[in-house]
Symmetry: C2
Subunit: 226 residues, 2 copies
């Protein structure tokens, strides 16, 4: 990001990195809980989500304080406003990880994901965790190469999401209604998780490069349909 950071703006950056790290841990653990029907781990993820919510509140207060006391303009102002938007996206990533953990908990002691889709969801878990870790690294390093890794992880998630539909629609008899409902929701949660990671990546890229081409299409909000 720009060199105009004050110490407080730096702290906002630190908060965002911490939120993203929490979101990465949450999606990784929620995915493990889902794959292994681990009730304790699912509950741990659900309980830990308040920490991300708290971080968002602290960060938002810090941003509003910064606006009130320092009246930043130009790039610094845009940075603070963008931080507010990014914190909302990362908070939402935490919610989506929690939703995945809630599905895992709801089906315990069964596993929510049917055998035929285990591999697909393993790959979604890997891509989503990589995307969240890259978000944390991008926020830390401001190395925009990370942004393209996030876009690529999101493309992977979208392709895997389409795979889940293909499997559900061709394996009618092997899947129960509950399994179809769960897979539909889980696929949606992973896909939205990727969208939010891309949203953050594009905002950071725009701040770093100043090129609106990095953030014009808002394409991430167009990929949510089924």
């Amino acid at each position: 990001m720009r060199e105009l950071f004050t110490r407080e703006l730096d702290q906002v950056g630190v908060d965002l990195v911490q939120m993203a790290s929490h979101a990465a841990t949450a999606i990784e653990q929620a995915s493990t809980a889902l794959q292994t029907a681990d009730l304790a781990l699912a509950e741990q993820v659900i309980d830990a989500d308040v920490a991300i919510d708290d971080l968002e509140r602290v960060l938002d207060e810090r941003c509003v304080d910064l606006l009130a006391r320092q009246s930043p303009v130009a790039g610094d102002l845009r940075l603070v406003v963008t931080a507010l938007r990014m914190s909302a996206s990362i908070e939402r990533m935490g919610d989506l990880a929690r939703h995945i953990a809630q599905v895992a908990r709801g089906r315990y002691p069964q596993r929510a994901v049917p055998e035929s889709l285990t591999e697909t969801f393993d790959q979604m878990a890997t891509a989503a965790t990589a995307a969240a870790r890259s978000v944390a690294e991008l926020l830390q390093s401001r190395d925009v190469q990370r942004a393209s890794q996030i876009e690529s992880a999101d493309d992977t998630l979208d392709a895997l999401h389409r795979d889940t539909f293909r499997t559900m629609l061709t394996q009618k008899d092997q899947l129960s209604s509950q399994e179809i409902v769960d897979v539909t929701l889980l696929g949606r949660y992973y896909e939205r998780f990727g969208d939010h990671a891309v949203s953050v990546a594009r905002r950071v890229s725009y701040l770093v490069t100043g090129d609106p081409a990095d953030f014009t299409t808002e394409g991430y909000s167009n990929s949510g349909s089924a």
Copy 2:
């Protein structure tokens, strides 16, 4: 809201009302397209969503401009920051209406909603449209009575959403996999639409009453699980 509105802050309010009106029209028309398998209307909703996105961009620029030129503090500052958050929620309501229209379009000439759930989705459409209209009216009038109507419409949506799961899990043989997928996604879209309406309602209430009890729990983000 507070009396400290400048003319420009008033314009932000006007923009928000307009966005909410568009979102209300979008959900109403998307629901009609869904219920009647009306391809032309579905495409109209999909195309019209860019107007909401454009309004959000204009409003956000106006807010950032206001922050840069007027350096508001205290209540005015909170109002501008809150407007940014509300515009994001209303933009998302537009996206969700578009997603519903996309499901309607995807199943044309069939209807996406099975016979056994027609009534449930009719009621969801009514509640969601009422919620969006109340959001527009609340933003216009700052009459916090509207906020409780929105909470109540959201409770209705949550109850209907649970009904859809109950129906799907008890009518296994009558529903195709495609129908289960569609109903799961549509139910989620309506439910999230209600969540965003509540989010806006709570933010307005907090601005009007100054009572954080109106906006502490962020409960709207906890109702998204299945």
